[in-house]
Amino acid sequence: MGLESFCGLCLIAAGPAAVVYVAVIARKSFLVLLTLASAFYWLVVLMVISALVRGFVPLPDSPGPYAALLIACVAIEEAARAGLYQLHRRLMGLLEGLAARQQNTNLSTADKLSMVTAHGLAHGLTHTVFLCISWLPLTLDVGTYYSDACPQMSVFLASALLSLSFLMIHTASMVVVFSGAAAGKPLQRFGPSALHLIAALLTLSSFGHGGCVASVFLSFLIGVAAVGCAVHVAWRSLHPSTLSSPSH
């Protein structure tokens, strides 16, 4: 039973990411390396956040301190995203220069989108791995773990579902933010950051009895909305002609 639940939880938490990885990233070695490099970057960010709050843990088991922690975490991550965008711009410049020098090669919009997706997937996977998958081997043993505040589902299942939601949010946000920054659209650039903060604060409802259900559900809705926005942005990038059509 342990192995089945472990595999199932892994599929919930990282299955969609695995599909995106195989379909988009794994086709090109450069994207694989970019994903690894970006994951390394986000791991360093997580470590910096942990180092900053290490002196305050363990926090009291109440929403207040965790709200402050979440606000700090999101603020640092969004600042790190801005730093990553600067690095990404430099990399794009190098690649465009390389493409211009090489005969018959280019850096298409699809390539640019796939690179941004690699960044976003790395962000989401880093969170998924360090906040969820790292603890799933515990399910290989007999039994599972329920918290008092969430009798509806095991901590591992709730964790996997929340990880999936934030994986969608992080991956999609990167596409929207980077596209918005490139196009100079403030709403696109800062909207996902606000969405990230809202989704994080919504998870505080897990402290209430049975609140984990609302937390999981709302986070998932935000994740789906973020993915929808990202698909819309990507579609407009790939088909710019639709912008000028009368129907729009």
Partner: protein
């Protein structure tokens, strides 16, 4: 049809990162299955605890002191063994080296793999009769030893067996007590720096000797030659060939070289680039050139030999079925061997090979050869090509044998626009010792929890990629352990002491961001 600039970028690096990842993942799985808490020391490497056997109740100072002395003894022994290897190689006793490697390989493939397989089967509750088990194990071991050291074999098979060696050996090392493991990893990293970078380092001497004799290192080395290009479109291949053809034509015009034709089907992209000297006296490789080239017609070999040995030469490999000049490619030199430890060591020199190889009569006289990835001769002299295409009045294009190719700005010529760039050859080599010690690190991390495993993994991979980029910049043999092990150890302890105490309560409280 236009192709993307991303299509082939980074393939050489992932060619190393992928097997390293597989080796580490398998080691972690073995540790999780057979020795999850590190308490089982039944298959431990006793030599690594020659002075001090760590006990739970010992003080930190005692553990530190004992593990440090253990690590120093281990490194001293490794140094001594490597010097013996250098002496044997220097004085031509390579038969002894390969004989020992065959014996050690058989021990790993038959005895150690057998023991671990038995334990896995016991754990999984799988029953098998002794005869069948021994039959399978014997065949596995014999094929492994033969293909890894003595006979030609598909590159994928060799790579697979190299990974098996890495996993089995790393699993043994994970049974070493914790403090000794950390000290050993740090000591081996320091030793790697000394052995590869200092003029009297044993690995530096070994690499220099191998270059001087135009032979492969007599060591266990993983070679990242491509095994296929299934994902490449034909259009992309054709375009690449056209581009390379233009470069070749430009270079050939200036040097009057003679192209080598290959039989149909041997596209440049699937040609193995490195001569895989395994199993016999590497020093004899150049002398045995003729008998090692059955895949090439005699006239082609003669064509390769006919070039002036004192001049830099560039060989053009051309598909026999295609019209001359329509599909050819540069044929690069063996890749870089990044390694450490007794299993294989140091990034094989780039620039040294270019410089010394050209000046050495032995090396420069070797004919260029090529074969497919399919079974072919196990001993082939290294291919020579020019690495320094000096333009009359401007910068030059320097191509390196270390598996990297550094292109400096070149004056524009018809059909060829060389721009600054950094390229790796198709073949990069990593010593199996590096595989082992990376895997030991993550295997040890797996005894704590998976969070530290993932953190260490990302640290190690970042180190490997950094080392490969440094290889491209410095164009010389580089130690592959120091950066990776340093990052891996740092990330392990930061994850354990800083990250986990913050992340775990958040996970348990279902608070995410």
């Amino acid at each position: 049809m236009e192709v993307s600039v991303l299509d082939e970028l980074g393939q050489e690096i992932t060619g190393i990162v992928a097997p390293v990842t597989i080796c580490m993942a398998l080691t972690v799985l073995l540790v999780k299955a057979l020795n999850p808490d590190g308490s089982d020391t039944s298959v431990s490497v006793y030599f690594a605890q020659a002075f001090y056997a760590e006990k739970e109740g010992d003080s930190t100072a005692t553990k530190l002191e004992g593990s440090l002395i253990n690590a120093l003894i281990f490194v001293a022994a490794i140094t001594a063994v490597t010097f013996i290897l250098v002496l044997l190689f220097k004085y031509g006793y390579t038969n002894i080296i390969y004989g020992y490697m065959g014996f050690a390989g058989f021990s790993i493939f038959f005895i150690l793999t057998g023991v671990i397989a038995l334990r896995l089967m016991e754990k999984a509750g799988i029953a098998m009769d002794a005869f069948s088990f021994l039959f399978i194990l014997w065949n596995f071991a014999v094929v492994g030893v033969a293909t890894a050291f003595y006979v030609p074999a598909p590159i994928l098979l060799k790579q697979g067996y190299m990974i098996v060696v890495g996993v089995i050996t790393a699993f043994l090392f994970t049974s070493i007590p914790e403090w000794t493991t950390w000290m050993l990893l740090l000591a081996m990293s320091a030793y790697d720096l000394y052995a590869v970078l200092t003029p009297v380092g044993p690995l530096k001497l070994l690499v220099d000797l191998a270059i001087e004799r135009d032979a492969d290192l007599p060591a266990l080395i993983y070679e990242s030659r491509p095994t296929g290009r299934g994902r490449q479109s034909r259009a992309r291949q054709q375009q690449r060939q056209d581009q390379l053809q233009q470069e070749d034509d430009t270079a050939a015009e200036g040097q009057g070289e003679q192209p080598l034709d290959l039989e149909p089907g041997h596209t440049p992209s699937n040609l193995p680039i490195t001569a895989g000297v395994r199993g016999e006296a590497a020093a004899d490789a150049a002398a045995d050139a003729d008998e090692d080239a059955p895949l090439l017609p005699a006239e082609h070999r003669q064509a390769g030999e006919s070039g002036p040995s004192s001049q830099p030469r560039m060989y053009t490999i051309r598909r026999g079925s295609a019209p001359a000049g329509t599909s050819s490619a540069n044929h690069d030199l063996p890749g870089a061997a990044v390694s450490s430890g007794p299993q294989g060591s140091g990034i094989e020199p780039a620039e040294e090979a270019a410089e010394e190889g050209d000046s050495s009569p032995d090396a420069s006289g070797s004919p260029a050869q090529a074969s497919s990835s399919a079974p072919g001769p196990s001993r082939r002299p290294r291919q020579q090509r020019n690495r320094s295409t000096q333009s009359p009045d401007g910068p030059m294009a320097v191509e390196m044998t270390s598996g990297t190719r550094w292109r400096q700005p070149q004056p524009s010529t018809a059909g060829s626009q060389e721009e600054p760039g950094l390229e790796f050859n198709d073949s990069i080599k990593l010593g199996l010792g590096d595989f082992i010690f990376y895997s030991v690190l993550v295997g040890r991390a797996a005894m704590y929890d998976m969070l530290t495993v993932f953190a260490s993994y990302l640290g190690i991979v970042a180190g490997v990629v950094s080392t490969l980029l440094l290889l491209a910049l410095f164009r010389k043999a580089l130690p592959a352990l120091p950066i990776s092990i340093f990052l891996g150890v740092i990330f392990y302890f930061v994850a354990r002491l800083v990250l986990e105490p913050v992340v775990l309560p958040m996970t348990l409280s279902l608070v995410y961001f």
